[in-house]
């Protein structure tokens, strides 16, 4: 089972408590009525579906119930980073260069709830 770091609960939780909520950082037009059909189709239906790092919304539905954003590698299924909703999109180049084991959360239980790395503990208002 994957352990996913919830930025609101500030610890790793089992994946059963989470639900995927589609691609992140898709901005809705402020004037949706003026959108052309093609633009609306792009906004509404077309997703990037990359092989590699994808930015997704996840929801800790059976926990704190908050939505947050993650950067996940679609090949290894590794969660590179989780951050609160509303925080800026992190730079993809710095993420993919990050070294470390694919299942970084596989740590002994006594170290499980420690802050893993400075980069993961992004602070800020949602």
């Amino acid at each position: 089972m994957l352990l996913i770091h919830c930025p609101y609960c500030e610890e790793e939780r089992p994946e059963l408590e989470f639900r995927n909520a589609g691609e992140a950082h898709i901005a809705r037009s402020t004037n949706i009525a003026a959108e052309s059909d093609e633009d609306f189709e792009k906004f509404f239906f077309i997703r990037s579906n990359p092989k590699g790092v994808i930015f997704e919304r996840w929801r800790h539905i059976h926990g704190c119930a908050r939505f947050f954003n993650v950067a996940r590698d679609t090949i290894t299924d590794r969660f590179l980073l989780t951050y609160k909703a509303g925080e800026p999109k992190p730079d993809i180049a710095t993420l993919s260069s990050e070294a470390g084991p694919a299942a970084w959360a596989n740590r002994p239980p006594d170290q499980l709830n420690e802050k893993p790395r400075a980069k993961r503990s992004t602070k800020g208002e949602a």
């Binding site: 500030e10 939780r13 408590e17 059976h62 704190c64 908050r66």
Partner: protein
Amino acid sequence: MAKLATATRSPALAGKSIGGQGVSLKVLEPAGRMSLRARPAAVAALSRALGVTLPQKSKTSAAKHGRFALWLGPDEWLVIDEAGADLLADCSSVKGLHSAVDVSHRNVGIAVAGPNAALVINAGCPQDLSLQAFPVGACSRTVLGKVEIVLLRTGEDAFRVECWRSFSDYVYGFLSEAARG
């Protein structure tokens, strides 16, 4: 002359209990419960009105005089009063913006106690329930089998499982099966 109709409320699974190997299950008495959501500005006033400090940290709870305040989310709490007091009345004087909904009869509480209590809950709950990760007083909304529960550790080997009333048969059955060892 009109007849006066009276309805008697019958709590789900009232009084059921079971003892297994190193664990006992007991359906708890009906209690007062409130689902509370509030912005940070109103938290202090609500804590004063309720007589129990609303916890601000994830996975923590506060208890005072049979009243529990469980952190569920950054702005969300479940408040339980074991005596069944009217929690909404206590909140009514608070000026700050908040949402308080009485959910007393939505939930059924089950006490799981005994040296094997954590093992029995772990039969369906994926969280780490070791004392290190889930100390006394820790609480969390999580899953048990295929339903959502709220779990509160009331003692080193005692838990309170709160589930929705319509799920209570499933939860009680699940825990009884797990308790058989």
